[in-house]
Structures are given as C-alpha cells and as structure tokens.
C-alpha cells in the first residue's frame, strides 16, 4: 500500500483523466480525501453515477403532479425529495398539500400499499442495474399478493450505453473505475466491448479507500491499453448475477432513456414490459429536461466536461442547503461531495 501511495503521488507520466461512474465511489473518494493523494497529473472526474442526479426534470414534474392528484401518494427515497423539477420539488409539493412519503426500501411500499384501506400509491423507481432486481422482486411479490393499488414511475438506467455516449461525445477519458455494485449484477464482462472499442482500461473496484487506491494504481499502470481488470473479485464475477439478470429481463425491456444534460441515449434505459403495463404510472415519454435555474451546469458536471467549481452557481447560490441542481442534493452527487469534502485541494 505504501508503494501504491508513493506511485500515485509521484506519477510523472502523461496527464490522465480517470472517471468513476458510481455514486458510492464518488462519495468514498471524497470521504477518504483521495484526490489530494494523487499527482497533479492524475485528475479524477465524477461521471453520471448517481441515479438521482441523472434524472430529468420531466420525471420530477410527473412525480409532483401525481402527489397532488387526489387519492394518490408518492413513495420515494429521501434523496429525491429535495430535487427540483422544472418548477417544484417533492418537498415543495408536500408543503402545497401533496402526499409524499419517504421510504427506506422499495419493499416498504408493498407493506404500505397492502395495509392501506384506500388510495393509490406510486413508487418513484429510480436506479441503475443495481436497483432494478429489487424492483423485479417487488413486482413479483405484488403479483403474488395481488396488490392493485401500487404502481411504479420508473426511471431505470443502464451503465454501458452512457459510458459509450461519454466516450463518443465527450472523449478524453483515459480509463474508468468501473462501478462495483453495478458489476455485481452485470458482471465485469459487460465493460469489455467498450474497453476494446475505445482502447482504454476499465478496473472494477471495491469501495474501501484502499481498494479504490489499488484500482486507480491499476488504471494508471494500464493506461493506453484495453482490458477489464476485476479488483473486486469477492463480489464480482465475469458473468454477474444470472438470477438477477433473468428477473430483470422478465419484467423490463431495454428502452431509450433521457439523461440529464445528455438527452436521449439509445437503449440506455429499462421500461416495464407490456404484460406488466398495469404497474406503470406513466413512465414513458418523460424526456423533457428544463433546469429550474438556467445557469445550473449540472448537465456539464455529470459528463465531466466541467468540474463543480466551474459552475457559476457553485458555493454561492447553490449549496447543499439551497441546491439548484440534483448534483448538489444527493450525497452521491459530484457537487455535493466537492462542496462538503473540498475535493482535491489538499
């Protein structure tokens, strides 16, 4: 570990831009103060790894609308409450009489819906490959228990297509810290085509500070070479979790999906299949993405085109207490972590 630390600190090769695309990695890099342990030639960039941050405003607007419909209650994870749509957040909707309840797990929504004597419930189902199997499980139980008052508003996204989009449209990324949790489901092999296509290394990383440092070291050593290295073998295999993949494929089919700041990306989402349409709360076509504050540069931050302090609102009009964009709301957001952790400066 001492050698790895020294290597990363003293690296004097060509400048490298390495991207992490997992919100937990983003948070942990900030929590451990890792950016400050690297040579100035190594720059870490946070990609679109936070499911809340990549959600377009039309989706939030739809949730707000649903919460204000008589008899409908929106169930959501806490992170989503403060994210503003084009006009309002779910917290604002709640203050205006909307019905919104925070849950800790999607499975809580089953309990809430089945215990309710009246009313309809909509679960805000955001997430990546990691969370999709939980929604599949939820649907399976809802089917078995014949629960009819619960629907999902889905905003499910998949990682490889958006990495492809970034490499194609943004470029200049020299390697990816592949997402640990996503890889548990997809398997490390999911990143091989991308690695070959762009001739850059991918390293599947665990979540401790040491694991992240080791993965960064591997990325730097493998710079300029294609290949996927799995440094999180205790949880990730090449094929991934087949059972979870099957469950997801049973309920969901790939679809085009809109990402905040990137627009529609072909095949980058998951939508409920036709036989399960009764569980859908109107998830299709929520593509509009108008920022609440037109000066917010979340969109550029998400793709690594600008770093958070380059946004004119950062630290002034936009702080965790007065977030203008989703990246400052979520604890996995790049702007939030930059703000609270002073990333990179020390």
């Amino acid at each position: 570990m001492t050698d790895i630390r020294a290597y990363l600190k003293n690296y004097g090769g060509p400048p490298l831009r390495l991207m992490e695309v997992c919100g937990t990695h983003t948070a942990q890099i900030s929590r451990c103060g890792i950016a400050g342990m690297l040579s100035p030639a190594i720059r870490l960039i946070s990609g679109p790894g936070c499911p809340v941050c990549v959600t377009v405003t039309a989706y939030i607007d739809r949730l707000v609308e649903l919460s204000l419909e008589p008899g409908t209650t929106v169930l959501t994870f806490g992170d989503l409450l403060r994210v503003r749509g084009s006009r309002r957040s779910l917290n604002d909707a709640r203050a205006a009489g909307g019905r919104v309840r925070m849950v800790y797990s999607p499975m809580d929504s089953l309990r809430i819906a089945s215990a309710a004597k009246s009313g309809r419930f909509v679960f805000a189902a955001v997430g990546f490959e990691t969370t999709a199997p939980v929604y599949a499980m939820l649907l399976e139980e809802a089917e078995q228990a014949d629960i009819r008052n619960l629907r999902l508003l889905t905003s499910l996204k998949t990682m490889p297509p958006v990495i492809d989009w970034i490499c194609k449209n943004q470029g200049g990324i020299d390697g990816f810290l592949a997402p640990g949790h996503v890889s548990v489901i997809t398997g490390s092999r999911a990143f091989e085509p991308l690695s070959r296509k762009y001739g850059i290394p991918f390293v599947v990383s665990g979540f401790s500070g040491e694991q992240i440092l080791a993965s960064l070291y591997a990325l730097v050593r493998r710079r300029g070479k294609a290949g996927v290295l799995n440094l999180y073998p205790s949880a990730v295999t090449a094929e991934g979790n087949r059972e979870a993949q099957r469950a997801v494929a049973h309920y969901f089919a790939p679809c085009d999906a809109a990402w905040r700041g990137m627009g529609k990306i072909a095949g980058s989402g998951l939508a409920l299949r036709a036989p399960f349409a009764r569980f859908d709360a109107g998830s299709l076509g929520l593509d509009d993405d108008r920022s609440f504050n037109p000066r917010c540069r979340c969109a550029k931050v998400l793709t690594g085109a600008v770093s958070p302090p380059e946004c004119p609102l950062f630290g002034g009009a936009c702080t965790p207490r007065t977030p203008q964009g989703a990246c400052m709301v979520s604890q996995e957001g790049s702007c939030y972590n930059y703000f609270v952790g002073g990333r990179g400066s020390r």
């Binding site: 630390r5 929590r31 451990c32 103060g33 409450l81 500070g209 040491e210 703000f339 609270v340 002073g342």
Partner: protein, 328 residues
C-alpha cells in the same frame, strides 16, 4: 387501558392518571404538593434549558423516550458546566396511547432521574386527538459553580479533543428498529453526570464540552471551529466506532461522523490535561471506549480537517440536509 380525551380534561380522570402514574413513579415531596408551581431552593447563578422529545419508536434497544427525555436535558445542563438539579416534564398524549406504556415510560424517567441526580418537581399533561402517539417536553435547571468558565470560544491551539465513546449507536439502534433489521446494536442513551463530575473534579482544565447529539460529531466540531476561529484536526483512525455500527453504516451508506448519539460527549482540554481527562472518562460508567481523537489547530481557519485512515485529508463540513427524522 387506553388514553382518552377525558384524561386531558383536568377532571377526575386527569388527577387519577397523575396520581397513579406520575406521582407514584416520580415520588418527590415538591411534586406531591400539586401546587401551580414548584418552589425549590436555588443558587446565585443557574443554567436553564428545555428540549422536546418526539422519538419513534417509543421503546428501542438500549432505551425509551422516558430515559431519553431525562438524559437529553440533563446532558445539556452538564455541558454548560452546571450541576443538574430540577426537571419539569410536559406530556402530550394522543388519544389511544396505552397507559401501560405511560407507566413504563414514567418508571424509566424516574430511574434515569435518580441515576442523573435530578428531581422531577413539576409536570403537565395534555391529550390531543391522534393515533396513540406520545411526546414529552422536559425543562431543566442546573446550578452553576462560581468561576466555571466553559465554552467553545475558549478552544486554543494545542488543546486535545476527546470523545467519550463509540459513535452512532443511538442512530443505528433507532434506524434498525424502524427498518426491522435484527442486530444487537443498543442506543447509548445515558446521563453523563458522573463523567462530567469526574472531569471537573479531576483538576483537568476543560475549555469546552458538548454532547454529540443530532447532527453528529461533524456538526459539533464545526460549531467549535467557528466559535473559536480555530481549525479542528481529527485523526479518523482514532475515532471509536463499534465494528457492528461500522458494518451497518457500510451497508446503508451512513457516515458515523454525522450520526446522532444520546450519551456521548466531546471535551476539549488544555494540552497537558489530555491523559488525565482520558483516565477520568474511561473510569466513568459510560466512558470505557473514550479516546483522544484530535487536537485544536491554529487560529485563522475555522474548519474541521480529518486525516483519513488511507492517508488522505478531507474537510468535514457540518451536516447538510435532513439527517434522520424523529431520532430524539
């Protein structure tokens, strides 16, 4: 038996509730007089504080709302250097609350008050419509010793920062219970009377004390940094967190630095007093895991810096956002 609106009417049902549950448990001659106010001996300078308790669930591993509402107020008095003496308590009961629960809560308040060295001398009960909820407000009076001067503005470069034990136990216990997660994590809910008594009597030059409740250690130390104008320097590897809570945090993505506690305190002491202060804490009933977790840095930069276990340094900001609702 369930609480009904009649229990809040001020009539017979109210007086039965008061005499059968509160007076019996609290057992104090001043309270028993049932006057409009408690008249008690005082001193030249007193500390006064109040706090309301809305925790859910009412009973949790390691404590209950009764123990919590005594500890919260007692600890606030202690942190100003006062000796807690009297408490008042106001109950707001929702229709449908169980008198059996109330009995358990009153008994828990009584035993905690005894442990903490305070008397419950006045109280009030109201009943509102609802669905069985229960809320308690406590106010406390403490006697200040002449010459006691404790406050975060007194932190100076070189002072040692001590933490009295493991972080996150209360937060994790409440969250586990709410989420139905089975583990053996227990709330740390406790009065710190003995610990503070030892510190102040032990000849240690204490500059600042604060109980680490909502907002967690990160928030408390940011307040210290801005009051004193000094940098607070922490060493992550020395901050005690139990293995079980650490695992729990890992799974849920929580940071122990921002988790609420109900029986933990920070003490900032003059450089030479660190060892003595640590010994005082560790000798106390709730201080076995106490540790020196950092030092006060130079004036000029009001920030909290953490040296991480992997060898990086990061800024620890105050808690932003909601934290966990209804934790105390």
């Amino acid at each position: 038996m369930k609480i009904t609106m009649a229990h809040g009417s001020g009539g017979k049902a109210t007086s039965e509730l008061i005499s059968e549950i509160f007076a019996k448990n609290f057992n104090d001659p001043v309270l028993d007089r049932m006057e409009d106010s408690a008249v008690v001996p005082g001193c030249a300078k007193i500390a006064v504080t109040t706090d309301s308790f809305v925790v859910t669930p009412l009973f949790f591993p390691g404590g209950d709302i009764g123990r919590l509402c005594v500890c919260g107020t007692v600890n606030d008095l202690l942190m100003s250097g006062a000796q807690p003496r009297y408490l008042t308590c106001g109950f707001i009961l929702e229709e449908g609350a169980e008198t059996g629960d109330l009995q358990r809560i009153a008994a828990s308040m009584a035993s905690t008050a005894k442990e903490a060295g305070v008397r419950i001398v006045a109280g009030d009960t109201k009943v509102v419509e609802g669905s069985g909820g229960l809320y308690i407000n406590t106010a406390g009076v403490g006697f200040l010793h002449a010459g006691a001067a404790i406050g975060p503005e007194r932190c100076r470069e070189g002072d040692a920062i001590l933490l009295s034990g493991n972080l996150g136990d209360h937060h994790a216990a409440i969250l586990s219970k709410r989420m139905g997660i089975e583990n053996t994590i227990r709330s740390d809910c406790a009065p710190l009377t003995e610990m503070v008594g030892r510190l102040l009597a032990g000849g240690v030059e204490v500059h600042a004390m604060r109980d680490v409740t909502r907002g967690g250690l990160g928030t408390v130390l940011n307040e210290f940094a801005s009051s004193s104008g000094c940098r607070m320097e922490l060493d992550e590897g020395r901050i005690p967190v139990s293995a079980q809570v650490r695992g729990f945090c890992g799974i849920l993505g929580l940071d122990p630095l921002y988790m609420g506690n109900e029986g933990k305190m920070i003490a900032v002491v003059a450089p030479g007093g660190a060892e003595k202060a640590l010994a005082c804490m560790r000798k106390s009933r709730y201080g076995a895991d106490a540790a020196v977790i950092g030092r006060v840095g130079p004036k000029g930069e009001s920030a909290v810096l953490l040296k991480t276990t992997v060898g990086g340094t990061r800024v620890v900001g105050p808690l932003y956002g909601e934290g966990l609702p209804r934790i105390c």
